[in-house]
């Protein structure tokens, strides 16, 4: 693959790059589970720079780094650092890149990760910039699909919930269209995918009704519908209720359908669904570790 220095946007990768990273992640799975020891990042330090709260992403990067023998410094509480004193992101990055061998950044402003990369002496990995990009989430989503469905080309996926604001969904759609994948968009009108988003995207993408396609799809990807997007609570309840995944809905599903969710979930997937063979969202969270190991080893070594 082309040399990967920073990972800022999924658009920076082509189909071959993605497959290369997924294959590499595969070789790390036993290390991620703690079954095999590896010290390839021994002596290297990762700076986790989180300007916004995160649990899964930050922890899985930390685990990935440590499983490969590296160390991690976490810079999270804004109050405790010079950021609270008004330091620019550019300066913070210039300093941190003198201390660490790679930086993982999450920031509330869009484009912050690209700007950070321009100011950094070491590789920068985007762990979410506002409503912008979250490429490592996309890679772990693709990894989950390939792992659990056995392939990427030829599958049919339904993206359900907030398609308008979810950065996870935006990154994922771009990546899915690099493969032969049928994409169904399932969302309330208020939260439908912005039209301009589909410009320049080639692929088999259509709006669908979940009830009508539940027996055809291989992957059901659910996202949270955020209450704050609605002006009135009654409207929210009505909409959110109609996009809830229940065991009842799954009765008509394919035997090998998998359900994914970037987590945290609120109530869009009924807890009883967790006990069905379809539920893969916790496994999906685990896959974040080998995928991030692959990315870290790729940019650091």
């Amino acid at each position: 693959m082309t040399e990967l220095r920073h990972l800022i946007s999924i658009d920076d990768l082509d189909r071959d790059d993605i497959i290369y990273i997924l294959n590499k992640a595969e070789t790390f799975e036993d290390v991620a589970k703690g079954k095999r020891k590896l010290q390839i990042l021994e002596g290297k330090i990762l700076a986790n720079l989180f300007f916004e709260p995160s649990t899964r992403t930050r922890v899985s990067f930390e685990v990935a780094m440590k499983r490969l023998g590296g160390d991690v410094i976490n810079i999270t509480a804004q109050e405790a650092t010079s950021i609270a004193k008004g330091e620019t992101l550019a300066d913070t990055i210039k300093v941190v890149s003198k201390y660490a061998d790679a930086i993982v950044i999450r920031h509330p402003l869009e484009g912050a990760a690209r700007f950070a990369a321009e100011n950094s002496e070491v590789p920068v990995i985007n762990a979410g910039d506002g409503a912008g990009q979250h490429p490592t989430q996309t890679l772990l989503d693709l990894y989950t699909i390939r792992k659990e469905c056995g392939k990427l080309d030829g599958i049919s996926i339904a993206l359900v919930g907030d398609l308008r604001y979810s950065r996870t969904i935006h990154s994922l759609i771009r990546a899915l269209t690099l493969f032969e994948i049928e994409i169904h968009l399932v969302s309330p009108e208020l939260l439908s995918l912005p039209k301009e988003f589909l410009e320049g995207i080639r692929g088999n993408v259509k709006k669908s009704n979940l009830e009508q396609i539940i027996n055809e799809i291989d992957v059901l990807y659910v996202t949270r519908i955020q209450k704050e997007r609605f002006l009135d609570e009654e409207e929210y309840r009505k909409v959110a209720g109609s996009y809830r995944i229940t065991t009842d809905l799954l009765k008509r599903a394919k035997d090998n359908l998998i359900i994914m969710h970037p987590l945290p979930r609120v109530d869009e997937v009924e807890v009883t669904v967790d006990f069905t063979k379809h539920a893969k969202y916790f496994q999906q969270a685990f896959y974040g570790v080998p995928v991030r190991m692959a990315i870290l080893s790729e940019v650091i070594i």
Partner: protein, 153 residues
Amino acid sequence: MKQLVVSKIKYGTVIDHINAGKALLVLKILGIDENTNETVSMAMNVPSKKMGKKDIVKVEGKYISEEELNKIALISPRATINLIKDYEIIRKFNVRPPKIVEGILNCPNRLCITNSGKEPINSRFYIKIEQEKVVAWCHYCGRKISDLSKHIR
């Protein structure tokens, strides 16, 4: 008898066929303001066979670089440039939009890092022609702008 709206210049740059009403923005793009030493004349809403109405800007005593002039294409893609020497046109060309522009456009996305207000950052946009219209994409947040004249700094 044909009458000149603005007088001929001896030496300098004439920007013709500017979309009507955009002459002030053209001056802004070229960085020409009250501190300029050049003699600058401007005509707005001049009748034009080709365009109905057009604006014209003349900058006397200075050849503006092609690179600078091409920025005009962002708001007036049909603009033509005449470089004048001794009252004669020595070179005539059409502006072509640059592939990348820095610091000229503002990103309309208020959550874009370029609008943070405290970072040492210049806006950067990739310019493309879509259905004969000039559009721009923010290098940082990916936001697309279709009506560029509304977002000139």
